[in-house]
């Protein structure tokens, strides 16, 4: 199976990464060679194998639902690229 330029552009849209035509073409080549190599996994029959999603395979711990960090508003906003230090400011989304 191969990945065409249209698919590359679709993935770039899903990834929220804009690509120019040249970069898109380069990625088409790269992704095809990578996925060609990945295809070898199809040699394996895996119908009855349980997928492994985490190596820890332990139950997540429960904890009390309580506030531990107080007054960290400034800390949270500190790295915002916008000058406004009271809110995260983004381009207008509602007309």
């Amino acid at each position: 199976m191969s990945i065409d330029l249209k698919t590359v552009k679709h993935i770039s849209k899903l990834s929220r990464i804009s690509l120019d035509e040249e970069k898109a073409k380069k990625l088409e080549t790269d992704l095809n060679s990578i996925f060609e190599w990945i295809e070898q996994l199809n040699e394996l029959k895996t119908e009855n194998i349980e997928p492994l999603s985490s190596i820890a395979e332990t139950k997540l711990r429960l904890r009390k639902d309580e506030i531990k960090s107080k007054n960290i508003r400034e800390d949270i906003l500190k790295n915002s690229p916008d000058e406004n230090k009271d809110f995260f400011v983004v381009p207008k989304v509602v007309e």
Binding site: A56, R61, D75, P81
Partner: protein, 486 residues
């Protein structure tokens, strides 16, 4: 004290405790040397002034009951350090100053260590040669134009060039062990869940582990002892009784069964690597261990599995860099346009490639064929290890399929670059501990490493095996200081 830079981490701690040298002596010695070694490009951020101040503070009110009393240490720039810029070697984090400290680095400071600076690495730890960093290639002190390996390349280079007495890295698919192998140093990836992931810039959360990189095995045991802790802030941190790795270090490995997996004898493996591996077996026999041939049948599927699992997790983890929270933004016509332009300008090519792979394998219609398939194969790989650990106590393999390569040699061919991690990746997929120790030189005179893989949470055992082998190998590398300028 004639030569501070020749002392190991453990020796430094001892000498500071015995008041033979001061923290300031050590700190200023390493700073001077680091300043003369800029051509290696090992540092992203230097915190020399603060380090000197802290050393002076330590000397005026010393606490000798800590494990790393007064020792300066530079760390990989993937660990968040409070009020010190943390970039993961990416343009997108170029302005990021964390307001919190990673648990692992906090453990170092709690035990008396002093931050010397932040070390270069591959961007978001994605790479095997330290050529994907936004801040440029790191050079290996082993030879001109040689890569130090990656992703913890700045850490390996700084350690081998003696710009820091020890360092810490992170390992998602080999990023500690491969650069350690390339630079003639020791690197250990602990069991998943041993060291907290809190405050480490996330790459692939089910694989990432922090670990020590040191000049010898004893130092690795000491540093691991300090780094490893149970942490409520990491939901996958495991609560187990952590041994005193350095105190319990022993060369008695008589009767230990060491497995040699035949699948690691890959096509086209060089005679040098074959010989290195054979020598390793002989050293183990000399130490009284027993060599057992074993099989890990799914080995060849580990790398393609990794290149589905790791990018999938990365594409999700890196979604947070959207131009809103982390200091870097490229303006756009609307919100989506701002996201797309920010991420396009902020990420480098390899990171983009992996985000795209990850997005594709998780996308509708492809999830089952790729991601679910990879998770199933990951189970088979883990089962392979479970099976042979019924018969053996540890496994011996080469750390890498070759010695270090030249800058630019593999950077245009992603798959050939990925193949570097062929011997290290299975360990991450199975969550096991692995250590690389320097074991010999190739024809060009470049270091080669051997890897010892252990059972989950059996770090003490692989440290002991490495400690015994280190003694027999007696690795020497005549480091010519060609990169230094006065």
């Amino acid at each position: 004290m004639s030569n501070i830079i020749d002392l190991s981490l453990s020796e430094l701690v001892l000498n500071i405790k015995n008041k033979k040298i001061s923290s300031k002596d050590v700190t200023s010695t390493y700073i001077e040397r680091s300043k003369k070694s800029k051509s290696l490009n090992a540092y992203n951020e230097e915190t020399f002034d603060t380090a000197l101040k802290k050393a002076a503070e330590f000397d005026s009110k010393p606490d000798f009951n800590k494990k790393l009393s007064g020792v300066p240490i530079a760390v990989k720039d993937l660990f968040c350090t409070k009020n010190v810029k943390t970039t993961a070697s990416s343009k997108i984090l170029n302005n990021f100053i964390p307001t919190y400290e990673s648990t692992v680095t906090q453990n170092l400071w709690n035990d008396g260590a002093i931050l010397l600076g932040k070390l270069n690495c591959d961007e978001f730890a994605m790479g095997s040669s330290n050529e994907t960093s936004y801040f440029g290639d790191v050079i290996s002190p082993i030879d001109k134009d040689l890569v130090p390996g990656g992703s913890s390349g700045g850490s390996a280079s700084a350690l081998a060039a003696k710009l820091t007495p020890a360092t810490i890295g992170t390992d998602t698919g080999g990023s500690i062990r491969q650069p350690a192998s390339f630079t003639g140093t020791v690197g250990l990836k602990p069991t998943y869940g041993s060291c907290s992931r809190y405050g480490i810039v996330a790459f692939a959360s089910s694989l990432d582990q922090a670990g020590p990189m040191t000049r010898n095995v004893k130092d690795a045991a000491l540093l691991l002892e300090v780094m490893s802790s149970f942490d409520n802030k990491d939901s996958t941190s495991v609560d187990f009784k952590r041994p005193m790795y350095s105190k319990d270090l022993s060369k008695d490995i008589k009767g230990k069964k060491i497995g040699i997996p035949k699948e690691y004898r890959v096509d086209g493996m060089s005679e040098e690597i074959e010989k290195l591996w054979d020598d390793g077996k002989n050293y183990l026999k000399d130490c009284g261990a027993e060599i057992v041939d074993v099989s890990l049948p799914h080995t060849k599927f580990a790398l393609p599995t990794y290149y589905i699992v790791a990018p999938a997790e990365a594409s999700s983890n890196l979604a947070r860099y959207d131009g809103v929270k982390y200091g870097f933004r490229t303006e756009g016509d609307n919100l989506i346009d701002m996201y797309e332009k920010t991420r396009s300008a902020g990420f480098g090519d390899e990171v983009k490639r992996r985000i795209m792979i990850g997005t594709y394998v998780l996308s509708s219609g492809y999830y089952d064929a790729y991601y679910l398939k990879a998770q199933k194969v990951r189970r088979l790989i883990k089962n392979d290890f479970n099976n042979i650990f019924q018969k053996v106590d540890a496994i011996l393999t080469p750390s890498t399929p070759s010695s270090a390569f030249k800058i630019g040699e593999k950077s245009n061919d992603p798959v050939s670059m990925y193949l570097n991690d062929i011997f290290t990746v299975p360990v991450n997929l199975a969550g096991l501990p692995g250590i690389s120790i320097p074991a010999g030189l190739d024809k060009k005179g470049y270091p080669l490493g051997l890897q010892i893989i252990g059972k989950s949470f059996d770090e003490q055992n692989i440290l002991n095996i490495a400690y015994s082998m280190e003694d027999k190998i007696n690795f020497k590398f005549n480091l010519k200081e060609w990169w230094m300028n006065d």
